[in-house]
């Protein structure tokens, strides 16, 4: 088994707000992240796939195919967007880094037919990242 990781970057804005909470609760829980006009990050995405090395190609996965799927399913949808307003998953879920990692996994997993997704890692800043392994 060999693991292959491809990086990508996207920039997006978001804010944290739960309509079930009072304004005071939202402010207490989410602090500056609750500003309704949003704020932004340069996100770094790392997608790790795993599999046996194909004896003919020497590849775990055709990197071009992986890049195409990442661009189409993730970057086109998220890059330079206001996540709360423009990305369907986040009309009902708070776009935390945790939920971003889960949403990206759910976008990629069904499209990566030739390989197996191992991990989605999303850096919100260089000091904060979330890993999702598809665990229930």
């Amino acid at each position: 088994m060999v693991y292959l990781t491809r990086k990508a970057e996207f920039s997006a804005s978001h804010y944290y707000h739960n309509p079930d909470f009072t304004p005071e609760e939202n402010q207490r829980l989410f602090g500056k992240c609750n500003n309704p006009n949003g704020h932004g990050h340069n996100y770094t995405l790392e997608v790790t796939v795993k599999g046996a090395v194909d004896p003919k190609s020497g590849f775990v996965v055709d990197l071009r195919q992986l890049k195409d799927v990442m661009s189409r399913e993730v970057l086109d949808a998220l890059d330079h967007r206001f996540l709360n307003k423009e990305v369907p998953e986040f009309l009902t879920r708070i776009p935390t880094t945790e939920n971003l990692a889960i949403a990206i996994w759910q976008r990629l997993a069904p499209k990566l037919t030739a390989t197996r997704l191992h991990r989605v890692r999303v850096y919100e800043t260089p000091d904060l990242f979330v890993d999702f392994y598809g665990e229930a």
């Binding site: 739960n18 829980l29 945790e98 889960i102 904060l128 979330v130 890993d131 999702f132 229930a136």
Partner: protein, 136 residues
């Protein structure tokens, strides 16, 4: 769904690697320049990885403010710009980064109850890093 959240912190500290159980010559042979009696320092980078189910209401594994407060109060306040040899954890142990990793793990494991501690990873310099995930 279960996600892993990792946060990076920095502190700067001095230490000296010296064991009372070894002779002067053995200490020099074992620790080399790190045995310099006046000590030396590093910029340490500490990565704390916690895991847990992503809360439906908040979208979080745990509130980052809680983790930051804990690590600032219990780790950074005690270690930053200090001599590690003088900490109670190193009264009887050599402050190698292996032992520092274990000490930080034990402090977080014992005191932080908002998420499950997965592992501690510490970079002593950009060239060497250490991980401890408890005894398995």
């Amino acid at each position: 769904m279960k996600a892993h959240l990792t946060r990076r912190y920095m502190f700067s500290a001095s230490h000296r690697l010296h064991s009372d159980e070894l002779s002067e010559a053995e200490n020099r042979a074992t620790y080399g320049k790190c045995n310099n009696p006046y000590g030396h320092g590093h910029n340490y980078m500490v990565e704390v990885t916690v895991s847990g189910p992503v809360d439906d209401q908040t979208g979080m594994v745990c509130n980052l403010v809680d983790l930051d407060d804990f690590v600032h109060n219990e780790i950074l306040e005690r270690c930053d710009h200090q001599n590690l040899n003088l900490l109670e954890e190193f009264a009887k142990q050599v402050p190698t980064t292996e032992n520092l990793c274990i000490a930080v793990y034990e402090i977080v494991k014992r005191g932080f109850d908002k998420a499950h501690l997965e592992k501690i990873r510490i970079e002593e310099t950009m060239m060497n890093s250490f991980e401890y995930a408890g005894e398995k």
